[in-house]
């Protein structure tokens, strides 16, 4: 067998396709026939130093993939599969893995350490591999352990810490792990590789060191070792040590006080003189401190945060030294860094950190940065000009508008001129800075105006010239236009001073989408998204004609797109990407036109043609439906109302396809939402399609592979359908009610400690209530008695939700409404039930003391409905 599997593993990597697929098939058969022995064989292969490295490598990979997967459901299956393996076989596999750590072939030992971590992630939380940590530590304490084993062991400890959570280990074990790791870091006789492995393990183990960091002596010791490691002679080790410091900054912010002086000089030296990879981490340390202080300020929300215990003011205290250090980094730009999005260097990190510092200390940043801006912005050297502009753009968020406005006023004209700088990077940063100015400081309703009727013309002409510049500059200009338009979104009057320029702006954006000198699709998508914002923020009716023209232009473009003869898969992808952008614009236009009755006519006139286009887009793909097109259909259905009925015969198959696409859950989710839109648009005219829709919805509910975020909307959708078709919903009652009851039970059993589960539970509860509400109101006039058998269960569920401490406002609203619906629909027949379930008195009392208008109104209505029943 062992010879055979070696051969299979080698053949599975053969260059010959036939050999490869035959071997893969054989491996698969082996796996399916006898998984435990398959896994054992793989682990034996991995452990055997006499086997070729190639077969050992693949053995390790297959092992790893047999234990873990990205997809949560698959992962759960794999976990169960491993748990079911015979205990003695599992012991053998694990022994093999531990043995592999000793292999001199580093690839094998490294693979083994990852596989061990995967096994640990299953077993340690189940208290099943209790001696793992102890055995790994033995490797570290025995005097004669070879360096390769010490390295592999430290790596394993790191991976294990990454996989499990702190509560899975006893404090004693944590102490021992930390001791081993810290010794590995500091041992003078240790090899470079062992020390690197040790500091990387510490990074993963920091999360476990809560108790140790609370103890001053232990904390001092850990910090001392990390700081010493941060000046090791090997840069990779220094970088790893700084990564630890970054992590400590956010994990243990509150205890950093005594170390800040040392940490400042450590980071300052690294920023000034160390290799870029290390300097980047040193800057990141300060960014993390900013993140922490901003987060604490947010939590205090306006109260005097500086006097609170948890806030240490590190940034403000270091400000006078920190800011000059960051400004220095801005001058270390690379040539053409803006043309490549993958570049990340010291000047970018420094500017980003400067922006965070400004958000942290607000006005206090200005006197430290403005002299640098003023001193450098006119220098002949482009680096100085770019750095000055970047500094100015970076600090616009944080300081008060009153402080910033005079500076922006003084500098705006300069910036507009700088869009003609001979250096492209200066132009890029200038355009970005203009965008930031508009984003942060420009609003038409503001008392102080950055953009005035006097300077708007110049701004627009500079931007429209800039959009023809290099693609990276053009993209920043799109951003500036986006935020320029957004400033007029809340305009109080029916007229915007931007309107006279919109024609030019729209043409420039359309021209930009057609540029052929662009290597990636980012500029095109930025231009289309900017177009969307222009439409959203435009003032109807004065822009009606322009939007009508844009509608026909976009429809033409989509028409040409769906006509394309597509050959390659690459072309197909491009076509689909463009469809997404065009459908996005159409969706925004439809919504805009439907805000007034007059402009809605324009949409209605184009509706047939639009629908024909959407159907063509859907037809371009055979297996799935286009998400953006489906999103546009939702807006379309709402806008057309009853008329939508005539599109149903052709559209229905795509709706069904969308509902069936559980793999792309966003598509499925949007399709479910569209069902609701159609229900509200056509009411009971949806009836002929309901059997199909309902069976798809029910299938989706029972499909474990469907992302759970779609489950709650599925329930709400039952309510939409029931409300639309009224008594005709009767035939679905036997299917739907058990689902609702099952989901209600599930809600009670969700894990309270898991944030995500709490949120999911709330969504589910709301969905269940919305389903009941729709069904109850749908049956009210003719089939009320059908719901009688479920009244008691619904009241019990509502009471359980009432007592649930984690329920959110939306759930409360839906719950209080459903009691009213129950009383409204079932009337006197539930008088006794309501009398016995008097929690509603307290529930309504809670609602009345809420600050939410709609909730109070609903509660008042419900109170009236209950009152009517009790009085009957």
């Amino acid at each position: 067998m062992s010879l055979q599997i070696t051969q299979l593993l080698l053949s599975a990597q053969s260059a010959d396709g036939r050999v490869r697929s035959a071997a893969e098939e054989n491996l698969k058969q082996f796996q399916e026939q006898n998984l435990p022995h398959f896994l054992l064989s793989l682990s034996v292969e991995l452990a055997d130093d006499l086997k070729p490295p190639e077969s050992r490598r693949l053995a390790g990979i297959i092992l790893k993939n047999s234990l873990d997967a990205k997809d949560a459901l698959r992962k759960a299956d794999l976990t169960q599969q491993w748990v079911n393996v015979d205990a003695s076989l599992k012991v053998q596999i694990k022994e093999s893995l531990l043995l592999t750590l000793r292999s001199p072939v580093s690839e094998a030992s490294q693979t083994a350490s990852q596989v061990i971590a995967k096994v640990a992630s299953i077993e340690i939380p189940r208290r099943e591999w209790q001696d793992l940590i102890g055995r790994l530590l033995t490797n570290m304490t025995q005097p004669d352990t070879p360096a390769t084993l010490r390295q592999a062991t430290l790596e394993t400890l790191g991976y294990v810490c990454e996989e499990i959570s702190p509560q899975d280990l006893e404090q004693q074990e944590v102490n021992a792990v930390l001791t081993a790791v810290v010794q590995g870091m500091s041992g003078v006789q240790e090899s470079y590789k062992v020390r690197l492995a040790a500091v990387r393990s510490l990074y993963n183990a920091l999360d476990f060191a809560q108790t140790n960091f609370e103890n001053e002596m232990e904390r001092n010791y850990i910090m001392k070792i990390v700081c010493e490691t941060a000046v090791s002679k090997e840069s990779e080790i220094r970088q790893a040590a700084f990564e630890c410091l970054v992590s400590i900054a956010s994990m243990y912010y509150e205890i950093l006080g005594p170390y800040m002086e040392a940490l400042f000089s450590l980071t300052a030296n690294a920023v000034k003189g160390d290799e870029e990879s290390v300097a980047l981490q040193a800057v990141e340390f300060w960014s993390s401190i900013c993140d922490m202080e901003i987060q604490i300020q947010d939590e205090y929300d306006g109260d005097d945060v500086r006097s609170s215990d948890g806030y240490h003011n590190f940034i403000q205290r270091a400000l006078s030294m920190l800011v000059p250090m960051l400004l220095e980094t801005l001058l270390k730009q690379e040539e053409d860094q803006d043309q490549d999005d993958s570049i990340w260097n010291l000047s970018m990190a420094g500017g980003t950190c400067l922006g965070l510092v400004a958000k942290t200390v607000c006005d206090e940043i200005l006197p430290l940065v403005m002299p640098f801006v003023e001193g450098n912005i006119t220098k002949p050297d482009w680096r100085s000009r770019e750095a000055a502009t970047f500094a100015f753009g970076s600090i616009l968020e944080g300081p008060s508008i009153e402080q910033l406005l005079p500076m922006v006023h003084a500098g705006l004209d300069f910036l507009l001129n700088a869009m003609n700088d001979q250096n492209s990077q200066v132009k890029d940063t200038t355009a970005w800075t203009l965008g930031r100015i508009f984003e942060i400081l420009h609003s038409s309703n503001c008392e102080y105006q950055v953009v005035t009727p006097a300077n708007l013309q110049r701004i627009v002409s500079v931007l429209l010239e800039g959009i023809r510049d290099a693609p990276n500059v053009a993209e920043k200009v799109c951003g500036a236009i986006y935020f320029l338009a957004q400033g007029y979104e809340d305009a109080e009057s029916d007229s915007s001073i931007l309107t006279p320029y919109l024609g030019q702006i729209i043409s420039a954006l359309l021209w930009t989408t057609d540029r052929t000198d662009v290597s990636n699709s980012k500029l095109r998508s930025s231009a289309y998204e900017t177009l969307n914002e222009i439409v959203r923020c435009s003032q109807i009716p004065e822009t009606t004609n322009m939007i009508a023209q844009l509608l026909s232009e976009i429809m033409n473009r989509l028409g040409r797109n769906v006509e394309l003869q597509i050959l390659t898969s690459e072309e197909k992808e491009k076509q689909s990407d463009l469809q997404a952008l065009l459908c996005g614009v159409l969706q925004v236009i439809i919504q805009k036109l439907c805000t007034s009755d007059d402009t809605k006519l324009i949409f209605l006139q184009a509706a047939d043609q639009l629908m024909a286009l959407f159907l063509r887009v859907f037809a371009c793909q055979s297996s799935t439906v286009h998400e953006e097109a489906m999103l546009a259909i939702g807006a379309f259905a709402y806008a057309t109302g009853h008329e939508f009925v005539k599109y149903m015969p052709e559209f229905y198959k795509y709706l069904e396809m969308g509902l069936q696409n559980y793999e792309e859950y966003q598509v499925c989710s949007i399709s479910v939402g569209v069902v609701g839109d159609i229900c509200r648009a056509v009411d009971d005219k949806i009836l002929p399609y309901c059997d199909g829709i309902m069976s798809n919805l029910l299938k989706n509910l029972s499909n474990a592979m469907l992302h759970r975020s779609v489950k709650a909307p599925l329930f709400s959708c039952f309510g939409d359908i029931a409300l639309a078709i009224g008594e005709n919903f009767e035939k679905y009652v036997p299917y739907v009610m058990p689902m609702l009851q099952g989901a209600a039970e599930l809600c009670a059993n969700l894990d309270d400690n898991d944030e995500e589960m709490l949120e999911y539970g709330n969504q589910l509860r709301r969905g269940i209530f919305e389903a009941y509400s729709g069904i109850l109101q749908g049956f009210k006039t003719s089939k009320a008695e059908l719901m009688m058998p479920f009244a008691n269960h619904l009241l019990q569920f509502t009471e359980a939700v009432f007592r649930e401490t984690n329920r959110d406002d939306a759930v409360t609203k839906a719950a209080v409404a459903v009691i009213g619906d129950l009383a409204d629909t079932l009337g006197p027949s539930i008088k006794l039930l309501l009398k016995n379930a008097n929690f509603h008195v307290h529930f309504l009392g809670e609602c009345f003391s809420s600050e939410d208008d709609q909730l109070k109104e609903t509660a008042l209505w419900t109170q009236g409905m209950i009152g009517r029943v009790l009085a009957s």
């Binding site: 960014s287 990340w344 309703n445 997404a580 966003q666 939402g673 509200r680 409300l723 009085a871």
Partner: protein, 430 residues
């Protein structure tokens, strides 16, 4: 971990709104689902037409806030209130909101509920009435809709056009409210502190309160207004502050508080509202105003120069046949103008005329005021949209001769405030 992935967007923000489009679609769907469920629940109207008379005592104890026990009684007392259905008014408003210029002025001029002047003390003042101090200033309707707020004076003309924190009262970043979300508030604009004092709530978030008792409207007003931020100091999206006026039960304590209490606003008399009365456009005897020198600077009417004339002056509307009528519905005829004066001063039917009362000619017959001969002074101010009401003329007359005094009000209060048995008897007599 690669922290720069997190930091990168600082200088290279990706403009991608797909998630935003999804989110906006979800918000729209949630809103529409809630709208259509509320339509099914008839939430807007059913609150206000619960058959309250059928509610037994046990239930009233459970739900004291909603059940308007006086509803049936007040309807029987004042059958004219039944005539106007909420839906008719609702449609009226939606249509009226599209009116512009003089048409809008004309419509809004007829929407305020106008108090009668208190000539004598109504029965059950302490049991059925509220009292509150009236802020001095311009009475107006404040309407918030479609992202802006408009205040209109009693004659329908626009006082201010401004953004406010009232629902749908400004175009702000929050999810813009659908057009059916609008509010109508009955206010007094108080110049000194530039504040709108809300004295009644007519519509809130599109839900009509016309056919709700004053008791309910005041409860709603007090619980709703402050929640919106409308009572906050002025800001960019909120040009004027709104405020409520303390409303008291009309017992000796409440009456004293309203009369002698110090308020942030300048007082101009006391308002009395019957707690069971609905909001009725035009003059109503269920809302009364009373003034004396202590609680108002404007007890006696002034002439067009702002002086209190030696003789009482009234403003009446001229009819085709020369008759001079009040603004009441139906109008009271207070005299007749001679044809030659009409011709000489080129007056037309519908003109509002200022006339002097000749004290010697005035008589009170069976409690009714008759003015006798009137002396023509001139045309009233062009801004006038109404003649004086009968009660105003009467109040002004008594104010000059034998005013209704505060002691009279106090004396009329039932000393056995909590004696319910007596109250019930009274109700049955009614």
């Amino acid at each position: 971990m690669a922290p720069h992935e997190l930091r990168r967007p600082f200088k290279r923000p990706a403009i991608s709104d797909q998630q935003r489009r999804r989110d906006l679609a979800l918000i729209r769907q949630t809103q529409q689902r809630s709208d259509s469920q509320n339509r099914a629940r008839r939430l807007a109207s059913s609150i206000f037409d619960l058959p309250s008379h059928s509610l037994p005592d046990a239930c009233q104890a459970d739900f004291p806030d909603i059940v308007d026990v006086g509803y049936a009684i007040s309807l029987e007392q004042f059958p004219e209130l039944e005539a106007s259905s909420p839906t008719v008014r609702h449609l009226d408003f939606v249509q009226a909101s599209k009116l512009k210029g003089s048409a809008a002025r004309h419509w809004f001029a007829r929407q305020l509920m106008l108090t009668e002047w208190m000539i004598d003390v109504p029965p059950n003042l302490d049991r059925d009435w509220y009292v509150f101090a009236r802020p001095a200033g311009k009475r107006c309707f404040v309407v918030s809709s479609n992202g802006s707020t408009v205040s209109r004076l009693r004659n329908g003309s626009v006082l201010h056009h401004f953004p406010s924190s009232l629902p749908n009262g400004a175009r702000t970043k929050e999810i813009s409210a659908p057009s059916h979300v609008y509010c109508i508030l009955d206010c007094i604009f108080h110049e000194p502190d530039q504040t709108y004092y809300v004295i009644d709530m007519v519509c809130w978030r599109g839900y009509s309160l016309y056919d709700c008792s004053a008791e309910f409207r005041f409860f709603w007003l007090n619980s709703k207004l402050s929640e919106t931020g409308a009572c906050n100091p002025p800001s960019t999206y909120h040009r004027y502050r709104f405020s409520v006026v303390p409303i008291y039960d009309c017992n000796p304590i409440g009456l004293h508080k309203a009369y002698t209490g110090g308020f942030v606003f300048v007082k101009d008399g006391l308002l009395f509202y019957n707690r069971h009365a609905h909001y009725q456009t035009g003059n109503t005897p269920l809302a009364l105003v009373w003034k004396d020198e202590l609680c108002s600077q404007y007890v006696l009417d002034t002439d067009s120069q702002g002086h209190v004339p030696a003789e009482q002056q009234v403003v009446l509307e001229l009819q085709d046949d020369g008759k001079l009528i009040t603004s009441d519905d139906p109008p009271i005829v207070f005299g007749c103008l001679e044809r030659e004066i009409i011709q000489k001063s080129s007056l037309q039917a519908g003109n509002f005329l200022r006339l002097s009362v000749i004290d010697e000619c005035v008589r009170i017959v069976d409690g009714k005021l008759e003015l006798g001969d009137l002396k023509f002074v001139g045309k009233a101010n062009r801004a006038r949209a109404f003649a004086d009401s009968y009660s105003k003329v009467f109040f002004q007359y008594t104010a000059r001769h034998s005013p209704l005094q505060f002691q009279d009000l106090i004396a009329s209060l039932d000393p056995n405030l909590d004696d319910n048995s007596e109250s019930n008897d009274m109700e049955m007599i009614d």
